[in-house]
Subunit: 344 residues, 2 copies
Amino acid sequence: MATIDDVAKAAGVSKGTVSSVFSKKRPISKQVTERVLNVAKDMGYFPNHVARSLAIKKTMIVGLKMPISKSSNLSGFEIQMINGVTKECSQQGYRVLLDTLPEHDDPTQFSMDPVDGVIMLNPRKQDPRIERFKQMGIPLVLVGRPDPEDETVSFVDNDNRQVGFMVGDYLLKQGHSSILFLNSAADMTVAVDRESGLAEAFQAHGALWQQNHVLNYSRKLHKSPVEYGYMAMMEAYKQLKYTAVIADTDRVALGVLRAARELGIEVPADLSVIALSNDATLAQEVTPRLTSVELEVETLGSEAARILLEMMGNPDVVCNRIVEGKLVFRDSCQINSTMNEMGE
Amino acid sequence: MATIDDVAKAAGVSKGTVSSVFSKKRPISKQVTERVLNVAKDMGYFPNHVARSLAIKKTMIVGLKMPISKSSNLSGFEIQMINGVTKECSQQGYRVLLDTLPEHDDPTQFSMDPVDGVIMLNPRKQDPRIERFKQMGIPLVLVGRPDPEDETVSFVDNDNRQVGFMVGDYLLKQGHSSILFLNSAADMTVAVDRESGLAEAFQAHGALWQQNHVLNYSRKLHKSPVEYGYMAMMEAYKQLKYTAVIADTDRVALGVLRAARELGIEVPADLSVIALSNDATLAQEVTPRLTSVELEVETLGSEAARILLEMMGNPDVVCNRIVEGKLVFRDSCQINSTMNEMGE
DNA sequence: AGCAATCATTAAAGCGGTTTAATGATTCGG
DNA sequence: CCGAATCATTAAACCGCTTTAATGATTGCT
């Protein structure tokens, strides 16, 4: 590869001039510009992004940190997230670095990544990475609330207690009392928040809240979200003839629907199914179409990106955005008495 | 941010020593190591990835070039691709840079990106980028065949003529003659190849091949793949009572199914639907479950990554991999006479 | 003790750009 | 025609790390 020096020499100018020709930061006379460009073309010269980044301390890259287990695929959530983040970033001329590498615990392995800012998915409790990014002076936006609370860190999140409360309230109003909740993995804040919201709904209705009606997804036990929905439903239904089930995602709901089919349970006649959705298309096109809570994960993603880009221009702003879930009535829940169907 | 110099000074050693402590490329005595590490921790020092990359000419990042229209989302294909590429790369310690930025035509804007290799989706005809990567000496793997043919460039692709032929052959054997093909965008090589494969199948069966039974997706006309399937089916069925339709993707097939429902057409009794699938879950969980051609896009992605990583270690190897499509029989095609259901 | 061999550490030269202060060349008004 | 102002260009320092060749400090051997 030809370097800027080679081009400068061949064109009979200094590297500073060549630099200016390419970066356009300083005006260069038409003749010189042309000469340099021609030489560069002939030599097959392209400015080196890394060297440039080092000099200007900017990469025009946003990091998206999401742990990914070796074997399994990106979840619907992650995909929606990538979607939202990428869309916003590319509009502003930024690219996205998918950082799926597992964290090393060797402190010599931490490095200041080639990114101007970071969006971090699923922060863990007391996540040490948060502190590290602060030290590095790299703008950070979390997706999911920081735990413990931290006023100094930006984040976007669903209002997961509201989500839990809303579906609980809705189902209880429909007269359901034995409700199965196929929750996500137990150690996630979303799981905790949604469950507590649901419990609150029971309380508000003066209904008995029983924790054993909540199941948790586990990577070890369940091969895939669909399998989780299927297996959990098959098992749980043996114990108790639930009349409603809340599924953590559309795909979990698909598993439930399959189980229901096999068990000869009519949806929604005998069983109402409601999905905490992250894939609108899927929810809409399944039969029966899934009544669901629209989580707007993509909005979450683009908001995270927007906030991050904002922070990058204007350091030490902190900002967070809570996105409410919206109930979308479709065909997988039985509609009783009081409620009106509201369509999509 | 503290730099390596600061740490060296504070620890009373040279930068070379600090460098070795972090990179572990040269043994450093236990005492010195410890002292340096402590100082580094106190000062909040983290090695700068960009500077490091510049020095060692390696970024441990793989670029994934995929044009993305400003407004629209990642397609199922792209998602599967990201999945496959990411999985393979992260296993080998590489990260993935999503390069969704539209190409500039200003030659001063081309830069040698901070990547060790590139996977490029949907290369266009005579794609000038291919030549550019060669000049830069950056290993490149295409997803989709190069057009015109080029012996010097690695690529992975489905055998799209085979795919077209296979579904055509299958449907014709089932006795269908009026077959609608909802193909992808006309300017893509996949569209061309699949159509020609299909035409070949007609020829092989001595059936009349009519090009007007092929429709093409267009970003301008169709809001989404689902809409494409829906609209195209609604329109086309007015002209002719097709007995089979080949949908470009699962999502297109969903649109077709919806149209069929609205038109009162029974699937598969009155209409066989077959999807050139890129989302196995979706195909399996829809009612009726979609008979489809499994394209194994994810395999394509991880193969592309594998080849690329290989090339990065061992320059000037060229390699390509053609992945055959497999027919997966489910419930959306009517089974006639001769064929046996093979299940999944 | 004396000399070679071994080992940890260092100084300095890259990597390929950007940027600042200085230098020439040109223009311009008086 | 001269000095000031304007403009394009350059030389050199810098960004933060790696690496090579050189330097001391130890060790081993006779």
